[in-house]
């Protein structure tokens, strides 16, 4: 088995359909791209009152399911891809970090189990929605510190936001089963983010350049994981920013503010992209 496993080789059974981030963002069924601005609801936040709440919630749960698979795969790869050492270069990691990654692999495996059962509960079949593989891509870096920044802090941070939104959805919708499970997963995700924050600080303690690079990578991933504005403080985003749980996970106030800014910027970029896409479509239609 080779070290460093490419994203396009991820093994899946025949039910899964994998797509890229670009394909996902260009999906005409998404609210920002597909609907005229005047017809858009004032809030895109996932609430039971939305006419499309059921499908949106199922889609989000399927997204959680495939995200957990990729998080499991990423944690597992970090156990294998690097030698055990002091963590002072990009080809090795401390033994204790590998133990944390193995623990995370177990946690993510449970999350896959939970999200499969919740998907069944919500009436969804495996493969009913596409799988965006951007999450595993963040786990493909050859520098383990970048993986911690991209996966544990950015991706698992997003998971905190998503699970908080789903937990609230379960609460408002009167679904204690959903709320119960999301709360348990949320507890694990806070642990994973804290793990990433702690290791990032410890490994780069005497290497400010490496820390800077890792935090820049995290910022890029945060922006990507904002899914073009899917997650932000704005009501135009379906998923909110879970500030309190992020604090518990070790994010500083400044870091949370930075993520909020990046997320809003991503939302604005996405809206501009959607406006251009609509204009192009109108032009093409008019020309034909």
């Amino acid at each position: 088995m080779r070290k460093f496993f490419p994203v396009d080789s991820l093994a899946r059974d025949s039910r899964f359909n994998q797509i890229t981030m670009r394909q996902s963002q260009a999906d005409p069924r998404t609210v920002l791209v597909g609907t005229d601005a005047k017809q858009r609801p004032n809030s895109n936040r996932l609430t039971p009152q939305r006419p499309d709440a059921s499908d949106r919630a199922r889609g989000l749960m399927h997204g959680i399911f495939v995200g957990e698979i990729q998080a499991l795969e990423g944690a597992g790869r970090t156990c294998f891809d690097f030698e055990t050492g002091a963590g002072d270069s990009t080809d090795n990691v401390p033994f204790a970090l590998k133990l944390d990654m193995a623990r995370q692999a177990w946690d993510e495996a449970r999350h896959v189990e939970i999200s499969v059962k919740l998907s069944e509960w919500m009436g969804t079949e495996i493969g009913q929605y596409a799988e965006n593989t951007v999450l595993f891509e963040a786990a493909c870096s050859t520098d383990p510190v970048l993986r911690l920044a991209g996966v544990n802090r950015a991706l698992e941070g997003l998971a905190i936001d998503v699970f908080t939104t789903m937990k609230e959805f379960g609460d408002i919708a009167g679904d204690p089963y959903l709320e119960f499970c999301e709360d348990w997963m949320l507890a694990d995700e806070v642990t994973h983010v804290k793990m990433g924050s702690d290791w990032l600080r410890r490994i780069t303690e005497n290497d400010p350049e490496r820390r800077k690079k890792a935090l820049e990578f995290q910022s890029v991933v945060d922006k990507i994981f904002s899914f073009g504005g899917t997650r932000s403080d704005s009501d135009e985003s379906p998923i909110g920013l879970a500030r309190r749980f992020r604090e518990l996970a070790g994010f500083s106030d400044d870091e949370v503010e930075d993520i909020a800014t990046v997320s809003l910027a991503a939302l604005e970029e996405r809206k501009a992209f959607a406006a251009r896409a609509r204009a192009d479509a109108v032009d093409q239609f008019s020309a034909s």
Binding site: R12, C79, F80, F95, L99, A102, A109, V112, I126
Partner: protein, 210 residues
Amino acid sequence: MADPFKPRAPFAPWDRRQLPGLFDVEETARRVGNYKWAEMKLFEALGGWVATVPELDVKMRLGTHCYHHAWHAELWHKRLPELREMNPDRLTQPANDTLVEFVAALTEPEAPDQTIEKLVGVYRVFIPHFISAYTFHMNNTSEITDAPTIRTLKLALIDEFDDWRDGEMMLQSLIDTPEEVDRAAAHQARLEKLIVAAGGIAGPGSIGGN
């Protein structure tokens, strides 16, 4: 109530533990270092394979078992300083070069259609050798002086037996044809020859003899 000041035997009649054991401190530390190395190689392989297997149930079990063996490695890591080895990395070694060859052969399969080979290596060869070495150690070390090692062996063995059963169930559910039986058997034989040549996970004498 019985008189609380009446002298009692220090060992109750049902407590048959004995002082003598086969292993001194040094030999115990050597074995524990070998166990830690082997558990590390196992959890790393299981973690690496998660992304390579298409079967969803297998993927989840590998992730779960990955942690079991990481936890065993951690327990052995903590035991080493208690055995006068203050630099645990010094004894975190393979028993011999043949065991390194075995691990290289074990981790060779990567393709998505090689799940049988991956599982055979772990659940029909490696884990049975953990079970035998751990059982031998548990049954032959001093039940009083080496009680901490015995406790770790017992905890690890619970996982080893459970994981072996999980793995065997997965294999039986994947092997459908005579050709697949042959594939599994051929890979098992190849790996078994290597680990026999190595003498087991702690080298010659892993389960006595030699």
